[in-house]
Amino acid sequence: MDRVTQDGPVALLHCAIGIYGVVAYEVGLRTREIAIRMAIGAQPSSVLRMVLGEAAVVTAAGALLGLGGSFLLRRSIESQLYQVRTSDPIVLSAVAGMLLLVAIIACALPARRAMATNPSVALAGR
């Protein structure tokens, strides 16, 4: 196995961990907002839809930028790939899909935690 093939899964894992950390932190910061929305009548399902929808849009935009970047850099990594083309649609969509899935999971976990908290507790002292 060449270097790129070996490092690919590790890079993907790092990317997934990074996205998870950033997105989960970002949703964690929105605990107050989620509590306020629920206190004034939002159903948990509508808040979850809002948070996941926003994360999906941002992650999809990131994935599109990444795909553009991979297209621009394709010549520099072409020689290091084995049995995979730089524009392989299956590989590209699988990677983008996986990162999107990671972002949605990273959103859903803290959002569900925030929604399970009583607004009175989440807003106490703020």
Partner: protein, 243 residues
């Protein structure tokens, strides 16, 4: 279900008097505690309260007496308590969270001491938010919000963000947000606690006007002068009701 039952009852002769005198809010033996070490620390003990439609009730007591905790229970923001709570004839203690949330959003407006407006939304959007959660069509929302902005004299502020408003103005928006969906009851947790006395007086005058128009109001306050706007005081001390 509640509303159907109410409308059919109201057709029975004499039933309207009964409905008018029936409590809007009725609690029996409400208790709230937190686990501390091996035991429990009680914040509320055996709270029994009846509040009729159209009342203006003030909950008073020293810090730590459980006033805000009780208000949040009445506002259905807190589900971890024991006892019985009946709101407009509905046994809240026996309902699933989704049903509670539906009753809450239809009937309760909440005003916070720290305003709790959403910083990224304009005044207009903050006031519109409760209507969007009640599936009010957009055209109708625009008309209702325009009316509320006009009633509260904040039309000129509608495109500003909360950070661009004074504390009094933010609380005015907080009250506007609480009343925009025309709730049966407004619960206010120390609504003037962060305001100058003149701004506080304006807010209390506003509550008085809303109460005169028929909205039931329950406020938590430390201020005797604010309590004087209401017609009844409930006093809590160390989690127990004194009066």
């Amino acid at each position: 279900m509640l509303f159907n039952r109410k409308s059919s009852l109201s057709e029975v002769p004499g039933a309207q008097d009964v409905l008018a005198n029936a409590p809007l809010i009725s609690t029996r033996g409400i208790e709230k505690s937190y686990p501390v070490g091996p035991g429990q620390t009680y914040v509320l003990r055996r709270i029994t309260v009846n509040i009729k439609p159209g009342e203006f009730v003030s909950i008073m007591g020293p810090s730590g007496a459980g006033k805000s905790t009780l208000l949040h229970i009445l506002g259905m923001h807190d589900a971890t308590w024991s006892g019985e709570y009946v709101f407009m004839g509905q046994p809240i203690h026996a309902l699933a969270p989704k049903q509670r949330a539906t009753i809450q959003k239809r009937n309760i407006g909440f005003v916070f001491q720290s305003y709790h407006l959403l910083d990224d939304l304009t005044v207009y959007e903050n006031i519109e938010l409760p209507l969007s959660y009640r599936d009010v069509p957009k055209a109708e929302r625009q008309s209702i919000v325009a009316d509320v902005l006009d009633r509260f004299g904040i039309v000129a502020k509608k495109d500003l963000y909360p950070s661009q408003l004074s504390g009094g103005q933010q609380q005015l928006v907080g009250v506007a947000r609480a009343v925009v969906a025309n709730p049966s009851v407004i619960l206010a947790d120390e609504p003037t606690g962060n305001l100058h006395s003149s701004q506080g007086r304006d807010i209390m005058e506003l509550f008085k006007r809303l109460n005169d128009e028929g909205t039931t109001i329950v406020q938590v306050t430390h201020s005797e002068s604010n309590a004087a706007y209401g017609n009844r005081i409930i006093t809590l001390r160390d989690g127990f009701m004194e009066s």
